[in-house]
């Protein structure tokens, strides 16, 4: 049996804190312990001294605003679930919050129905075990969310992002009607999305005019996907090392990527103290590797400072070539292109590369 969950509630409105503490502690089946904080520094001090399951954060606060608290909390406490609860109806703030890796973004409920949905979602988050997967929603509960949406006869669009790779699932009146992922759509795209092991997830308004391409029931889709993933897993061959610390199939993959439109070289560097390094099309990868590491580290720290969300890609253009950098899963990729390649072609090719890499 898991320990009693613990919620930290952060808002500068004391009446709000009192009300939500009462509701969360008394009306959730898990009967969590709820602590409150009326300022960012106080909340961070509590996080430092106690272990929490979930933090609910208002955005608009004096001195240290909610985004700053989220940025620090996400970095220091990766297992902590983060929920924004705000009255700010601003899509830029929403994008930035999701870019930082929050689990959910809620406008403060204005009706009993919205309050009920909010409480259900908090209950759902508290019941998750902390196992990797999608930020805020484990890969297992992406299935749960699809089931919940379909069972409640809801209509929505689920957007799932994995670095710069993005997929969408359209649900209309409780049925999955369409899906899109890089280089595929309909049922193959649905399976591709569910095969991703990590990423961010968000719900968007329904698109009732979307053409239907999937006619299988959601139960059938989930079953087919589970079977397909099981079959794929059973066909994975043992990986042999090439002696430089990298699997042999990485070299094969790089060679395959080099066949894509315009690719002049590919460099992949792993993470950690002694990162693995694989490259194709480069005589001496060290200068490029050093530039990639320095540039990505600089811009990642800048992104944290500006609260601009996740760093997705860096594209450099020079007289000799174009270069694209992307953090991807546990690696960093650097791809070289001719200087004449258009921005659109570069973007499409990088999407293909990243799709193949994460898969």
């Amino acid at each position: 049996m898991s320990a009693q969950p613990k919620i930290l509630l952060l808002d500068d409105d004391q009446d709000f804190l009192d009300l939500y503490r009462e509701m969360l502690s008394k009306h959730l089946s898990s009967l969590p312990e709820v602590r409150t904080a009326s300022s960012g520094p106080r909340a961070l001090a509590l996080l430092e001294s106690e272990t929490f399951t979930l933090m609910i954060v208002d955005l608009h606060m004096p001195k240290m605003d909610g985004l700053q608290v989220l940025s620090i909390a996400r970095r220091k406490y990766p297992q902590l679930r983060l929920v924004v609860l705000t009255s700010i109806r601003d899509e830029q703030f929403r994008a930035r919050a999701y870019g930082m890796g929050v689990d959910q973004y809620w406008i403060k409920p204005e009706s009993d129905q919205e309050m009920g949905l909010f409480m259900e979602s908090i209950e759902s988050l508290l019941n998750r075990e902390a196992q990797g997967g999608f930020r805020g929603v484990q890969s297992k509960s992406l299935v749960d969310i699809i089931q919940l949406e379909c069972l409640s006869q809801s209509s929505s669009v689920l957007k799932i992002t994995n670095g710069v790779v993005e997929g969408k699932i359209w649900i209309q009146n409780g049925e999955v009607i369409h899906a899109e992922a890089p280089e595929c759509s309909a049922e193959p795209a649905f399976q591709r999305i569910l095969s991703w092991k990590a990423g961010n997830f968000e719900t968007m308004p329904a698109e009732p005019n979307r053409e239907r391409t999937i006619f299988t029931s959601y139960q059938g889709l989930l079953l087919n996907t589970a079977q397909a993933l099981d079959e794929a897993a059973s066909q994975i061959l043992p990986i042999e090392s090439t002696g430089n610390g990298s699997p042999a199939n990485a070299a094969t993959l790089l060679a395959e990527l080099s066949q894509l439109n315009g690719v002049e070289f590919v460099l992949a560097v792993g993470s950690g103290e002694n990162p693995s390094q694989d490259f194709w099309g480069l005589e001496n990868p060290k200068p490029m590797s050093d530039w990639m590491r320095e540039t990505l580290e600089n811009f990642q720290s800048l992104g944290d400072r500006l609260q601009a969300g996740q760093l997705q890609q860096v594209v450099g253009t020079g007289p000799q070539r174009k270069v694209a950098l992307a953090p991807c899963a546990k690696s960093r990729l650097c791809v070289g292109f001719p200087p004449t390649l258009s921005a659109e072609q570069l973007r499409d090719t990088m999407k293909s590369i990243l799709t193949k890499w994460v898969s």
């Binding site: 605003d65 985004l67 109806r89 601003d90 899509e91 830029q92 703030f93 929403r94 994008a95 930035r96 999701y98 870019g99 959910q104 809620w106 406008i107 409920p109 204005e110 919205e114 259900e120 979602s121 759902s124 969310i145 919940l148 949406e149 929505s156 957007k159 968000e202 719900t203 968007m204 308004p205 329904a206 200068p287 490029m288 050093d290 530039w291 320095e294 540039t295 600089n298 811009f299 720290s301 800048l302 992104g303 400072r305 500006l306 609260q307 601009a308 969300g309 996740q310 760093l311 997705q312 890609q313 860096v314 594209v315 450099g316 253009t317 020079g318 007289p319 000799q320 070539r321 270069v323």
Partner: protein, 95 residues
């Protein structure tokens, strides 16, 4: 703090010369951006790979920098959550 839209220029020492950004956006932030941008241009130069332009894509911001006689001109373009997102009561319903 909202991310602003606009541009600013830096000299080769990283000092802000001109800016169209709102005054509410701290100069210290501009300097921080400029420092990283100039560092990246210079590192590329050391790697024998001179660059004239760097575009940085974040979830909520696009940053475009052009090298300018050792300094740079930098454009900040906040990214909307979804350019085609329709505003409706269902926006407030999230799971």
């Amino acid at each position: 703090m909202r991310l602003p839209s606009g541009s600013f220029t830096l000299d080769r020492e990283g000092r802000v010369m001109t800016s169209t950004l709102p005054q509410s956006f701290p100069e210290s932030q501009m300097c921080a951006i400029g420092e990283k941008v100039l560092a990246s241009f210079r590192a590329a130069q050391r790697a024998q790979m001179p660059l004239s332009e760097i575009i940085v894509h974040y979830a909520a911001l696009k940053l475009l920098a052009r090298e300018l006689r050792g300094g740079a001109i930098i454009f900040l373009v906040p990214q909307a959550f979804n350019q085609n997102l329709k505003r409706s009561p269902t926006n407030s319903r999230h799971l």
